[in-house]
């Protein structure tokens, strides 16, 4: 059960094997989004059925519209984008996931949005919706090499501009490429 909790799909009929009357967490938000943008949410899950771990996997085309809707709708009111990151799955067909953590101060709840993208695929920038996304998108661009279309200032943020690769990708070794290892000069080199 625990292994599957992260990927439980619940399109209304999927929860047949659990107790029938129990609705999965985050269903109110799901209905809200579905009513406005049918087909935008591809998957819905919640770790261990926790209210605070609700995740929606979104279609990339819908990202900006859904985000804006979730920010402005009074029943959702996700005014804060608190975190934005990415995850890399080397063997997947869509190897990257871009992950957004939203906070609603009014309703004191969290929501996680996710998008699965191909390598090199551009993601629309959400800086117009939450200006706090500015540095976070730069960080993801820097460390994962994911480009954000429409970002006002997409530069590397943590690494030097000439670093050349993206160290948080899974195929980037912990030591090696790009590392600046200082090695003591051997006796021969130092002329002793």
């Amino acid at each position: 059960m625990a292994d599957e909790a992260g990927t439980t799909e619940s399109n209304g009929e999927g929860s047949a094997e659990t107790e029938a009357p129990k609705t999965p967490p985050g269903m109110d938000l799901r209905n809200l989004v579905d009513a406005e943008f049918p087909g935008a949410v591809l998957e819905q899950s919640a770790y261990e059925d926790r209210e605070d771990e609700v995740t929606f996997v979104l279609k990339v085309d819908y990202l900006l519209r859904v985000c804006e809707y979730l920010r402005n709708h009074p029943a959702a009111s996700f005014k804060i984008l608190t975190d934005l990151t990415a995850a890399h799955y080397l063997e997947n067909e869509e190897p990257f996931q871009v992950i957004y953590q939203l906070v609603s101060v009014d309703h004191a709840r969290l929501l996680r949005l996710k998008m699965k993208i191909r390598d090199g695929q551009e993601v629309p920038s959400v800086t117009e919706i939450w200006s706090s996304a500015n540095w976070m998108e730069r960080e993801v661009y820097d460390l994962f090499g994911i480009s954000f279309a429409g970002h006002p200032d997409l530069r590397r943020i943590l690494l030097p501009e000439d670093w050349g690769s993206h160290p948080f990708r899974k195929d980037y070794p912990l030591e090696g490429r790009g590392e600046r290892i200082y090695s003591k000069p051997t006796r021969k080199e130092s002329g002793e």
Binding site: T82, D83, A87, R112, L159, F168
Partner: protein, 407 residues
């Protein structure tokens, strides 16, 4: 040269007209004392007013999150207090809560109380460093010395309880590293009993001090809406009047059992941030006292031998304990696959740990939502249009720790 001379001669009637000026770019940092770490701020100045501000970060980037991905959950823990080195216990707390959430594990009530006590002492300690350095930036030397005196007392307690002054790594998944030493509670009580008086001393030096007021009042204010849009959290957000404290809104580690208030500001200027943090220290003192008074009896570690190492004495005569010990420290423990985002209220704001587990003994991905990172992003908005001298005040009021910004 000569042509220029003739030009000026030709334009002689204009010589008393408006002086042609241009903006100047000033480089503040990376080794500027008021940047509290290695931060470079590029400022565009027009005379003395700031028209542009660009913080440049990354000087301390060491890839801590990537490093955590190749370590077991236990070994990744000491990396967390190296991020925000002024609030090590808070960082430990966020991480262990996230892993405990993944493991669906509940720690005993006494452990929760002990964690709250130490987390609030950390808040006091961290705010003391902020208060001292912030006041020092604005020219008040004495406060700095007083603050560091009290901070030292807390650090001494930390050292005795965990073995290390700053990089404590005391909170562990499923409990704490070891039983606190015998006089721990007495030491805490002695410090906490004396502390409110010390607070009065600091306030006497600053709160109504006209020089301090002129440096801070209505300086670098941000409105509530702007603070929310910029993703600012913690004392900064509350100074702008937004009632958002994770200890109240998303209680963790038993905070719902404690009675405390969330101090709020209204103007969102540097002075309000000062007031909010001062009031927060008093509240932290209040919570710590409650935790100390109500410290329950009972076990300290969760009853889960697969995760919590057995007591050292048991290893000598209990084969099972020896096996568990060996397994935990070599292979580590398996954490169910899934993903969690655990937030806590660190002294600097919302500290989040996003952990993806693939079922193996080391996390697949760790992302730390560092409060300073988002708070520093608001700096340009704060200082634009203000005076150059206020940049230092604003930077101090944000209370950044570069270690967690760059990670």
């Amino acid at each position: 040269m000569s042509t220029e001379g003739t030009n000026t001669a030709a334009r002689e009637p204009d010589i008393l007209g408006p002086i042609r000026t241009e903006t100047m770019t000033l480089n503040m940092g990376p080794q500027h004392p008021s940047t509290h770490g290695v931060l470079r701020v590029l400022l565009e100045l027009e005379g003395e007013s700031v028209v542009g501000c660009k913080p440049e970060i990354g000087y301390l980037h060491t890839g801590i999150e990537k490093n955590m991905e190749v370590k077991t959950y236990n070994k990744a823990l000491p990396m967390t207090d190296r991020m925000d080195y002024l609030a090590p216990m808070s960082n430990n707390l966020g991480y262990v809560l996230a892993v405990e959430k993944l493991l669906d594990m509940e720690v005993p009530r006494r452990c929760k109380y002990l964690r709250v006590l130490l987390a609030e002492m950390t808040r006091i300690q961290s705010h003391l460093v902020w208060l001292g350095t912030h006041a020092l930036d604005l020219g008040a030397m004495t406060v700095f010395l007083y603050c560091f005196r009290e901070r030292e007392a807390i650090i001494k307690i930390f050292e005795k309880v965990s073995g290390v002054r700053m990089m404590t790594s005391y909170f562990r998944v499923g409990g704490v590293a070891r039983e606190p030493y015998a006089e721990f509670y007495d030491d805490c009580r002695r410090f906490l009993d004396a502390f409110p008086e010390k607070m009065d001393d600091y306030e006497e030096l600053l709160t109504d001090n006209p020089i301090f007021l002129r440096r801070t009042e209505s300086v670098c204010a941000i409105s509530a809406e702007k603070a929310i849009a910029l993703g600012v959290t913690g004392p900064l957000l509350r100074a702008s009047g937004v009632d958002y404290d994770i200890r109240k809104k998303e209680p963790y580690s038993g905070y719902e059992e404690f009675d405390f208030e969330v101090p709020l500001g209204s103007a969102g200027d540097v002075y309000d941030r000062y007031c909010v943090r001062i009031a927060e220290m008093r509240q932290a003192h209040r919570i710590a006292m409650q935790a100390l008074d109500g410290m329950p009896e009972g076990p300290l570690q969760a009853d889960n031998p697969k995760v919590v190492p057995p007591p050292k004495e048991q290893l000598a005569h209990d084969m099972e304990a020896l096996i568990h010990h060996f397994k935990i420290f070599t292979e580590g423990y398996h954490v169910p696959a899934g993903e969690v985002y655990q937030v806590i209220e660190s002294p600097r704001g919302e500290l989040g740990y996003y952990i993806i587990s693939d079922g193996s003994p080391s996390p697949y991905k760790v992302k730390v939502r560092a409060p300073s990172f988002s708070n520093l992003f608001a700096l340009p908005e704060m200082v634009k249009g203000g005076m150059f001298g206020d940049v230092v005040a604003a930077l101090g009021s944000v209370d950044i720790v570069l270690g967690e910004i760059d990670r």
